[in-house]
Structure formats: C-alpha cells, structure tokens
Amino acid sequence: MTLKIVVTAKQVIDPETPLSAFGIESGAVKVPANQAPVVNGFDEQAIEAALRLKEASGDAHITVISVGSGFALDVIKKPLAMGADDLILIDDPAFDNAIDPTVTVAALAAAVEKIGDVDIVLAGRQASDWDNAQVPIGLAETLGWPVATVAKQVDVGGNTVRVKRVLPDGHEVVEATLPAVVTVSNELGTARYPNMRGIMAARRVQPTVWTAADLGLDVARTQPAFELISLARPESAAQVEMIEGDDEEDAGRKLALRLRDERII
C-alpha cells in the first residue's frame, strides 16, 4: 500500500540576510527585492526525511503543502526539484498574518483532511522567522494524532513510525502508531541538492492552489490568538573594547592581561 506522506514547508526570509538589509516598517519585516526568500531550512530536512522514507518503502507519495501568500514560485517549487511528487499552495492574503499559528494550523489541518488517508506528516522542527516550533504540534493536536519532535532519523514499518529524537546529550528512540506528525531537526543531515532531472521535472509541474474558502475556512471569524503590539530592532548591547597589540600574538597576550585586570579569570 502506498505510504501517503505530507511535508509542510514554509517560505521564509533568508536567515542569512545581512542585518544591513533587514528592515522593519510598520510592524513588518522588509527586505530588498534582491534578497530572495528561501524554503525554511528545517523544512528542507523534512523533505529529505520524506525522500528517504520513499526510497526505503519503494511505494510512497510525497505531497508538500505550504501556507502563506506572495509565493516565489521558483523558490517554493524546490521540494519538487528535490523529488517530491506534488505541491499544494494554500495561498490567501488571510495567511499573511504570520504571527498567529492557530490560522496556519487550521489551514494545514483542513488540507490534510481534504487530501485524505495521510499516513504521516513531516515538518521542520521550527521556522527561522519566529522560531515558534508549534505549528506541527498544533496540527497534531488538531488532527488528534501523536507527534514526535526533533527527529534525526525517521523509519516506518507497518503502521508504526520509529523516531530517533535528538536530546542535548544523546538521543531517544520513540514509537507511535500512524497516522502521526514528526518534526525533523538538522541532525538528520544535509538535504540533497536538486539534480538537473529534478529541476526539469519540477518546471513542468504546476502547484495546486487552494484558498481559505476552498478549505471551508472563515479566517475573519476565527478568534485571533495574538495581536502584534510592536516589532522593533533590539537595543544594541554594550560597546566592545578592542584589544590591540604590536601584532596578533601581542594582542593575544594583552587580552589575557586585560581579563586578569578585570578579575574575569
């Protein structure tokens, strides 16, 4: 039987965007047009986990879902180029409100139910914009599924998923019955680069686009969880004291002396 895999992927501002290009205007982050967005890094690793599951099972189908608005198609199609089978964009201005995970969760849950008979949802452990680490967990709660977090390895056998979870000083192996949600961490390993065949194939695939209405969601009527009061630059930290010397070795010695002066060592 075909293993039905859904991967959630988010388009985010490139976390490598230099601070000088990172602007805040009326409560929203603005970057110059030449700073292309990216697929959230942990979500790429979730796609990698899905591709490994597909290779191991021999019979799997990978659907990638992304919730948002203003998608850059060449960016968000990257999972297809990596080898995913299809892409659903839940594209609606209603999902512009990035600060409220309840809205994203409602959209993803409705999409997973609309697809039907999904065995496993894989997601990045957190997104590099707000680092909330809660949409996959909220999705599991909403669907009534178990969730295992921060996976470095995901295996499916029969109707059971076995996950090796990252712990601060080791790992834990957990098991749950499918359907389940699993969040993936960078310890899974680098996500594969799309090859030329994948890139060509992805070009020919048009994503399916669903709106909030297609999913039967009335976002305007949902109780928002949060109201953004302000978004600002952090206050700058203390001034650095640069230790200089005749040469780099001298600077090293002076650093030690300075730390002793301050009784830090």
């Binding site: 990172f22 909220g138 000083d169 080791g170 969880a225 009061i229 780099e248 090293g252």
Partner: protein, 330 residues
Amino acid sequence: MADGSGILVIGEMADGQPASTTLEALAAGLALLDSLPGESLSVILAADATTTAAQTAIAHGASTVYTVEDASLADPAPEAIVAAAEEAVRQASPRIVLGAKTLLGRDVMPRVAFRLRTALAQDCTAVAIDDAKRLLTTRPVYGGNAVATVACASPIAVAALRAKSIDSREPDATRTGNVIPLTVDVQAAVRVRSIARVEQAADGIRLEDARIVVSGGRGLGGPEAFDQLDALAGLLGGAVGASRAACDAGWVPSSYQVGLTGKTVTPELYIAIGISGASQHMAGCSNSRNIVAINKDAGANIFKDARFGVIGDWQKVLPAFMEQLQELLG
C-alpha cells in the same frame, strides 16, 4: 468561555524539587499578580512524589499546588504532563498559563495551548499585563534581529518563558497554601512510547554548568582546531562549545552546539573563536556575563555583543593568549 482568573504555572521537576525554570515562572507570576488585584497563583506539579516540592512551590509564591502522583512520572512523557496540566486548568480556570521553553516544555506547552484552543506565546523574555488585563509578551524573533511585543487576545493566554530571563525569588517559608491532589490517568494519555534513551557520557564539566565556555565556529577551519580549544578549556576549568556550522560540518558532536536549536549557556566568560555571531548562535550565549571574541573579520557580528574583542587570526592569537594565561594562573 467565561473569563478566567489567576495564573497557573505548568511545573517541571528536577531532582524531587521544582525545576529552576518553574521557580522563575512562579516569580514571573507573582510580578504579574501586582497588576491583577485579588487574583492568585497556582502551580501543577506532576511527579512520582510531590510532597516536598509542593512546600517549595508554596514558599516561592504559589497559593494552590495541584499535584498528580504516578510512578511513571519519575521520567515523564510530554503527553503525561499535558494530561495533568489539562486537568489543572479545568480546576483552576486561570486567565494565564505559564511554562518554560525547556526540553520538556518545548513539547508540552504548544500542546497545552492548542488543547485550550489558542496558540503559545513562545520563548518570552518578559511578560506584563496591559490596561485590558491581557498578557503582553516580549520575545526575540527573526533570530534576534527583531524584538516583538505581542498581546494574547484569546480568553486564556498561554506563554513559555525563556530560561534564565526572569530571576527566581528567595523562598519565604512563612507563606501558606493549599495542596490539592488530582486524579489523572497519565499513563493512558501517552501515545508516543519511549523505547530507549542513549546518553553520551559527557567528559568533564557540563556545558550548561560551566563558569567558562570556550566555543569554536566555522572560522576554525577544521576539527583539529578543537584540540587547542580543549586545552584552553582545561587551562581555565571550562567546557568546550561550538556553533551549529561546526557541528553540522561534523567537527564536533551536536551535543556541543550552542544556539537557538542547541544549548543555552550563561557563563561568567564566553570565549568565541572563529564564530561570526549569527543571531541563531547568539540566542544561546548572549546572556553570558562577559563575551570575548577572537575573529579575523573586523565586521563580524560577534563584536557587537562582545565586551572584549581581538581582530586577528586565531592561530596566532590563541597560542600567545594561552601562554600568557599559563603564566598568570601559575
């Protein structure tokens, strides 16, 4: 849903006592009560034994301690704590639920929030009450490039505090409070079964406990450089950490990782060598008392957060630094 009243802390245990992050959440709750006259602070403690811990929680400001005892809670599954928390919320009907973004809290708090039909205000470094008695939360976002203040708009607010961002208070043994045992079938709630746990034996001092941390990043160029960091840490009685780039490159195990998705350290002295200071990394070390940065790039972000900096090639700076240290430390 009727408006709730008071604050409930989702407790976590460490060695038979409320964890330090739970004491911090109680302190945050007490501070919030100043703006909520007549309301009270409660806590749920779910563990194999709670008698001693309950008294500690009362001394730290809880006027009601809900307890759930079960042998399986000596090493609790997140779902077991969620079940206990859900029952405590039903009993206390609070307006605010507070927890911490700890290893366990990361799994527990989002579940609690969504079970209460709201979302979690994650990783808060400060909390307050606004004029409409809503919970205001402040938190770093975009990897620390921005700070957001968010008001919780749903009838019940759920927030997770960043560890060590709020000071716990001194216990007051004269405080009194009620202990209310709850009956919850915590084992029935667990659907993610733990099969095995493998701990790598950490040699030397734990990174999180170290008074001095020596950390290396991409700028070190390879795994061999960490031998010198080990030597420096040995000299100072500290521990060695690393940036995510160094861990992902396989130079050191991922247990070395300091940062948003790694460990959070707050040593007296944090020496960052060949680390550019991406905000992802700084989230794990910016609360260190003194940051020293050695980097050959004068424009590196790390210098913005550092107290002392040396611009130069670490291969030249570090041996001289260590030589001088050896002399000073005798």
